[in-house]
């Protein structure tokens, strides 16, 4: 609730929060678009991809995101393969990845920063995003 109120305020004063990018990689359109909606409400610029391959193709075309929200089970290229590919790329390997999945325990062993279990709790989502996107950025705190 607090997060929302604050974001409403920040929306009125857009200068305070520098624009930060978040990439959402999720195959289910309903979840993807809802995530986009809520993350945009928080003042972030959102890019979406419906599978790992699309995500990888999108990354060089955008300003390096402060966070990637990643689903695990996806067609074409799944979350595990996406992380593998990401970790092999010198430019992309440092981007924090947060897994959003029903099977949170499957994310074990992946070098993900956090795991958010589906169904997603918005407060948990906001807390996690803030944790990774406000590092070294006092204005967002």
């Amino acid at each position: 609730m607090l997060a929302f109120r604050r974001s409403v305020e920040t929306a009125e004063r857009p200068v305070i929060m520098p624009c930060k990018n978040i990439l959402i990689v999720e195959d289910d359109a309903a979840i993807r678009e809802t995530l986009r909606f809520v993350v945009e409400l928080e003042g972030y610029k959102v890019f979406t991809a419906s599978n790992g391959q699309e995500g990888l193709a999108l990354l060089p075309q955008m300003e390096t995101p402060c966070l990637i929200l990643l689903d695990l089970m996806m067609p074409v290229m799944n979350g595990w393969e996406f992380i593998d590919a990401l970790r092999k790329d010198m430019l992309l390997m440092s981007i924090p990845v947060v897994i959003v999945s029903a099977y949170g325990e499957q994310a074990k062993g992946l070098k993900a920063k956090d795991v958010i279990k589906k169904p997603v709790d918005l407060d948990v989502l906001f807390r996690t995003i803030k944790k990774w996107c406000s590092q070294g950025d006092e204005t967002v705190k």
Partner: protein
């Protein structure tokens, strides 16, 4: 018969020639006088021939008498010791004239008792009728008969099953003189075969059941995942609506608030069901793991009971807590909350609105959590079963639920190295679920 054949004569002759030649050759070689010793060659050949013919003839005559005797003894030994029953009946009256040892043992009579008797003297009429009819078929039609299975009543071994062959034996004029019967006792073989078939059937059924379980587990995993996807979107959308609530016209706020609260409550129920199904598929794939951290068990209980205040009120159950505040151990906090919540939910559901008592205590090695209600109780025969997946003791007509709470609770408790069980003694009211957790995990 005693005359030597031409080929044998020739063979002997050649042997004689060969031997003589070798001897002459050796001697002439030593004496270095070939001509002199050649004269002896003819003499040697003749002598060897005569001797070999003589010995061969005499030998043959002596052997053939001995052979007949030995052959008889041999045949008798075979017939007597063969493990199958061998019997002979005379063709006219079908009375037994001969029996071997296996026959005596099988039928339970001595040879003296059997010889001269017919089937009607030894077996029930229906059996004897059948034996005689088969005998007649063999003798009248000159057929060999193979009876794959025939039951026979024996004196000491009860009913046995025989595999019998019957063969006619003719006299020199070609008339049937005897009936020869050979019977193998296949009772054990048949029983073993039946048992083996039963075993195979059971094995097949077991494998099928296992396959079905696996299919069910796979289905649950897929169903849970598929249900979870729209649920995730729905839950987020309702949360967003909730956050927008303050911006809605004040006159409608109250209606919206209660509608949203209701929706959230239903989604929470839905999430719980889906989460239970996901847990089942975690268990079946060995992915139910625990993440232990130091925590006070009584605090876990307090948190859960506080969150259930509304439900407790609705269920009309008074809650009594006896919590030992010093029980600290290494537990997966979220999972243990799940166990307490499951047990408390059951207590409310089956507690008939009567008081519920939760107690935590410890001894040297373990923490003990008990949740006692005063409701319908669990029958003795159901007390193990209710911890299996999809099992329930109460009728689905009276109580809802998919029967996973206790199964998951048990899996969580087991993963902690503990155990869970129920004490209940219907018709005495109430049941008490007890969870024991080791204080030091090994």
């Amino acid at each position: 018969m005693n005359k030597m054949s031409l080929t044998t004569c020739l063979k002997n002759l050649w042997l004689g020639v060969l031997t003589s030649f070798l001897v002459v050759f050796a001697v002439s070689f030593l004496m270095k006088d070939l001509f002199f010793w050649t004269n002896f060659l003819v003499l040697f050949v003749a002598l060897a021939f005569v001797l070999s013919v003589y010995f061969d003839l005499g030998g043959r005559g002596e052997k053939s008498e001995k052979e007949i005797y030995e052959l008889n003894a041999f045949m008798e030994a075979v017939i007597e010791n063969i493990p199958d029953m061998i019997f002979v009946k005379d063709a006219r009256e079908l009375r037994f004239t001969q029996f071997n040892k296996a026959g005596e043992e099988l039928l339970g009579y001595s040879r003296q008792d059997l010889i001269g008797k017919n089937d009607y003297d030894l077996f029930p009429k229906s059996e004897a009728d059948f034996f005689i009819s088969q005998d007649r078929l063999v003798l009248d039609e000159g057929r060999h008969i193979d009876i794959a299975e025939e039951p026979i009543h024996t004196r000491f071994k009860g009913e046995r099953i025989l595999h019998t062959k019957k063969v006619p034996v003719y006299d020199e004029l070609g008339n049937p003189r005897y009936l020869l019967g050979i019977s193998e006792d296949i009772t054990e073989k048949k029983r073993a075969k039946e048992e083996h078939e039963r075993f195979l059937q059971e094995q097949y059924a077991r494998r099928e059941a296992q396959k079905n379980l696996q299919l069910r587990d796979e289905f649950i995993a897929i169903a849970a995942h598929e249900l979870n996807t729209p649920l995730t979107a729905l839950r987020m959308q309702i949360q967003i609506l909730n956050k927008f609530l303050p911006q809605i016209d004040s006159d409608k706020t109250q209606t919206f608030r209660s509608l949203l609260k209701g929706s959230q409550l239903q989604i929470a129920r839905f999430s719980k069901l889906v989460e239970d199904l996901l847990d089942v598929s975690r268990v079946s794939t060995g992915r139910l793991t625990i993440q232990p951290e130091q925590e006070n068990l009584s605090e876990i209980v307090s948190r859960v009971t506080e969150s259930c205040a509304t439900e407790l009120e609705k269920a009309g159950c008074d809650l009594k807590l006896h919590l030992d505040s010093s029980i600290v151990g290494s537990w997966d906090v979220l999972r243990m909350e799940q166990v307490v919540l499951n047990l408390l939910s059951n207590a409310m559901k089956y507690g008939e609105g009567k008081p519920i008592e939760i107690k935590t205590q410890k001894d040297d090695v373990k923490a003990i959590l008990s949740i006692k209600d005063n409701g319908i109780g669990v029958a003795k025969e159901d007390q193990k079963r209710i911890f299996e997946r999809f099992e329930r003791a109460a009728s689905i007509k009276n109580f809802g639920g998919i029967g996973l709470g206790l199964f998951i609770s048990q899996q969580i408790v087991n993963a902690h190295g503990g155990k869970i069980y129920v004490e209940s003694d219907p018709p005495k009211a109430g049941s008490c679920f007890i969870v024991e957790l080791p204080l030091q995990r090994t």
